[in-house]
């Protein structure tokens, strides 16, 4: 189990532990969202929603089925995609938990913007892909893994993995070039 999975398992046991989990992942998650949206206020609210959902789901985290960061960023991707689909920032988990509105001052907004790598469009384009295409691209292009291994993991044929990678990359390029 990774450090982060330990941290997440610990996070089930109390508020202090969950706060520690939040502190550990705050910057990466904020960075992910500011890359995706280019906006610090949106990044902050999407981050808040992501952690609220993580809190709701933390009891279900199973360290034998995946890493904590993958689990958390899975939630983050979902929140992002859902927000784009509905054209508003999701706040349902925060509402359920009774969490108040976040207000950013200028310094904080600037700090968040500095987390951006400047390549947010690509992050967003990838995040908005259908799940099976995104997973295939992550495994092949980003992890550099071999097709047979990916096919085995995704329980599909090698040809299908190739097709998903190809179509996914085409969709990403199209989106980056200005398409939808």
């Amino acid at each position: 189990m990774t450090d982060e999975s330990h941290l997440l398992v610990q996070a089930r046991s109390g508020a202090r532990e969950f706060a520690a989990f939040y502190r550990h992942f705050e910057r990466p998650v904020l960075g992910f969202f500011v890359n995706a949206t280019g906006r610090s206020d949106l990044a902050a609210d999407l981050t808040a929603e992501t952690f609220a959902r993580a809190l709701e789901a933390v009891a279900a985290f199973d360290p034998t089925r995946g890493r904590a960061d993958q689990w958390l960023f899975g939630i983050a991707r979902h929140v992002l995609a859902e927000s784009y689909r509905r054209r508003r920032v999701e706040a349902s988990a925060r509402a359920r938990l009774g969490m108040p509105e976040l207000i950013l001052d200028d310094d904080t907004a600037e700090t968040i913007v500095r987390l951006s790598s400047g390549h947010g469009d690509a992050s967003l384009a990838l995040a908005l892909l259908p799940d099976e295409q995104r997973r295939a691209i992550e495994a092949r292009v980003l992890d550099g893994r071999e097709y047979p291994e990916i096919a085995d993991e995704l329980r599909c044929s090698e040809a299908l993995v190739r097709q998903r990678v190809s179509r996914g990359l085409r969709a990403v390029r199209s989106r980056l070039a200005g398409g939808q």
Binding site: T2, H6, L7, G14, R87, M99, E101, A122, A125
Partner: protein, 352 residues
């Protein structure tokens, strides 16, 4: 220090309710949605698709490094929970001769350098918050490296489960031109007493000559690591090294091959075995740089300027190590989680 302390506080409050024992925990406490912010953000989100603009396709990798690249930060200290119960501060002091000597001014000076009482350095996240026993902090010098290693007992605020609340901390800093912030490159690994007694505690890697901005190692192509071991161990030999955590963008097979080249042995002084290892070379398909910028994770070059040819990620590994006593008899064969830096040749950067 967090960027959004209000959010941390709100989550803490929500978690107090949520993670309370089941008899009282409301799983879906009704509450009005934060309508004002939703309206505000709704308007903003409506304009979001407009931010999609031309970018290079290779930058796709950004997200995966954020999403998956965290693995290499998921450091080698993942085993605290594996310790046996019943370990205690007394047991630790009994096992570490260096803690039994009187505290000197050098110890206090070193402690203050590493962990100033008024610490303005934002420390990296720790696995478990802990409180250090400053009275028992001891510093061990490694003159050949111009390095110092701090050893201190700790009490975990949130116990690493079966490892018990008592543990030991190892931190270090390297003096000279390329001063490394204490608690950063070498990490501030802390583990439970039981885990330490069974497996030792590794600090590292530190590449003293690493110039991250230019992607080169100036001087010897080596990395340093230290292993804290109990009394009675006079030398340590590193055996087979296996990969503990994947790194996004790197081939697992090539990483394993690189790690297989690691070997070494070291004598123990003041409970510390100091290893200087040749930096393993990753020979897989060269990954791409993801671009310059203040990235926290993954293969970003710090910029400005051209992308360096090499990247030096730290990866988590497990080494099968053998501990010997002064007579050369085997004291223990164990497996220790370590951190190792790899040399990775990068593909040329795309134009961003």
């Amino acid at each position: 220090m967090t960027i959004l302390p209000e959010l941390e506080r709100d989550l803490f409050n929500a978690a107090e309710e949520r993670l309370r024992p089941a008899t009282t925990a409301p799983h879906a406490r009704p509450s009005p949605p934060p309508s004002s912010v939703r309206a505000r953000l709704g308007r903003a989100a409506a304009g979001l698709p407009a931010i999609l603009s031309v970018a290079v396709a290779i930058a796709v990798a950004v997200i995966a490094v954020v999403v998956l690249g965290h693995g290499h930060q998921a450091g080698p200290r993942a085993t605290a929970s594996g310790a046996s119960g019943g370990s205690s501060r007394t047991e630790l002091i009994r096992a570490l001769g260096v803690l039994r000597r009187p505290q000197t001014k050098a110890d206090l000076d070193g402690l203050e350098r590493a962990y100033p009482r008024r610490d303005t350095i934002v420390s990296p996240p720790t696995r478990y918050p802990y409180e250090m026993d400053r009275r028992l902090a001891r510093v061990v010098s490694i003159p050949a490296w111009r390095a110092e290693v701090l050893i201190a007992p700790v009490r975990f605020e949130s116990s690493p489960t079966s490892g018990g609340p008592e543990g030991v901390l190892l931190s270090g800093w390297w003096a000279g031109d390329r001063f490394q912030l204490p608690g950063r490159l070498i990490g501030s690994p802390a583990t439970s007493v039981g885990e330490f007694l069974a497996r030792g505690l590794w600090g590292g890697p530190v590449v003293p000559g690493l110039d991250v901005a230019h992607g080169v190692v100036r001087g010897p192509d080596v990395e340093d690591g230290v292993l804290l071991v109990p009394d009675g161990v006079a030398s340590v030999q590193l055996g087979r090294v296996t990969l503990s955590a994947q790194v996004a963008g790197l081939s697992t097979k090539a990483m394993i091959a690189a790690l297989a080249t690691i070997h070494g042995s070291a004598a123990v002084h003041d409970n510390i075995a100091a290893f200087q290892l040749a930096i393993p070379v990753y020979a897989g398909r060269p990954p791409h740089w993801l671009g310059p910028g203040p990235s926290l994770l993954g293969a970003h070059w710090p910029g400005p300027g051209p992308a360096p040819k090499f990247w030096f990620p730290a990866v988590g590994a497990a080494v099968q190590d053998t501990w010997f006593d002064a007579s050369g008899h085997v004291v223990s064969r164990t497996t220790t989680e370590i951190g190792v830096t790899l040399r990775v040749q990068m593909a040329p950067a795309a134009n961003h």
